[in-house]
């Protein structure tokens, strides 16, 4: 049963990823990206990461993707005749070689390492959210704060960049 779900999520996320890259209409690309994100969140569920599943659906599919679609609708882009880069054929060769190298590394890897301190059984007792929260607010507190400052900087940067270049009429200064 789990193998069936895994096959479904994996195949659909790969197919939707290919569609995101290959479709012509940018809005269709955005909707294909939505399918990728939702099926990747399904993979997270299979890996016992419920909190990450919720964050993926809320933040990625709910916030980031809506932002993309909002900008697409705002700019009202027309579908181009030539929607690939002019010299894209030059990239296909290196991409093929790179993919083969990655597959070679995959086959060669031992996939073993030192086990950590959070086996699945212990995590499932309290729930994944509790485990993530305890870890985040103890060992990863500094990184958490850094991400907070980073997001503040991103908000300010986005506002400054997207602000209208002309001053508003009627303003005194």
């Amino acid at each position: 049963m789990i193998a069936l779900f895994f096959a479904y999520f994996a195949l659909v996320s790969i197919a939707a990823g290919v569609m995101t890259v290959a479709l012509k209409n940018p809005v269709h690309c955005g909707l294909a990206l939505l399918a990728v994100l939702l099926h990747v969140s399904g993979l997270f569920i299979l890996l016992n990461a419920e909190f990450l599943w919720a964050v993926q659906v809320v933040v990625y599919a709910g916030a980031i993707l809506v932002l993309y679609l909002f900008v697409l609708m705002l700019l009202n882009l027309k579908t181009d005749e030539r929607y690939f880069h002019s010299s894209y054929l030059y990239y296909l060769g290196p991409a093929g070689i790179g993919s083969l190298y990655v597959l070679y590394l995959l086959v060669k890897s031992p996939y073993a390492g030192a086990k950590g301190t959070a086996p699945a059984v212990a995590v499932l007792q309290e729930g994944d959210t509790a485990a993530v929260g305890i870890k985040m607010f103890s060992d990863y507190l500094l990184q958490f704060e850094i991400v907070g400052v980073f997001l503040l900087g991103a908000i300010i940067g986005a506002i400054v960049l997207a602000k209208s270049p002309k001053p508003l009429e009627g303003g005194k200064d």
């Binding site: 993309y68 002019s86 996939y111 960049l161």
Partner: protein, 100 residues
């Protein structure tokens, strides 16, 4: 039980798809979407290793990756809007103002 290699393979295929999208698409917004696919592929890898090696660190790093993707999307789309205002185009091969 799904082997770890299956998750890593899915992640690698998604990553290569996103990389190809960054390299060959002309539309700046689609390029950013392909970057999101690559970040998602990395997240699959992190969570899979976190599960199979029984450590929470991977899930936490994946959370930080999602936060950084949100910031990247906000700033990237703001840049697209500014460029579009001046040039009425979002094709990356026409945006060569900083090229010398």
């Amino acid at each position: 039980m799904i082997p770890l290699a299956a998750y890593v393979a899915v992640s690698a295929i998604l990553f290569i798809t996103g990389l190809l999208g960054v390299l060959i698409r002309r539309n700046f917004i689609i390029v950013l979407m392909s970057v999101e696919i690559m970040l998602n592929a990395a997240n699959i890898n992190l969570v899979a290793f976190s599960h199979y090696l029984e450590s929470m660190a991977g899930q936490l790093v994946a959370l930080f990756v999602i936060a950084i993707a949100a910031g990247e999307a906000a700033v990237g789309l703001a840049i697209i809007i500014v460029v579009f205002r001046g040039k009425l185009s979002t094709n990356v091969d026409e945006l060569n103002l900083l090229k010398w």
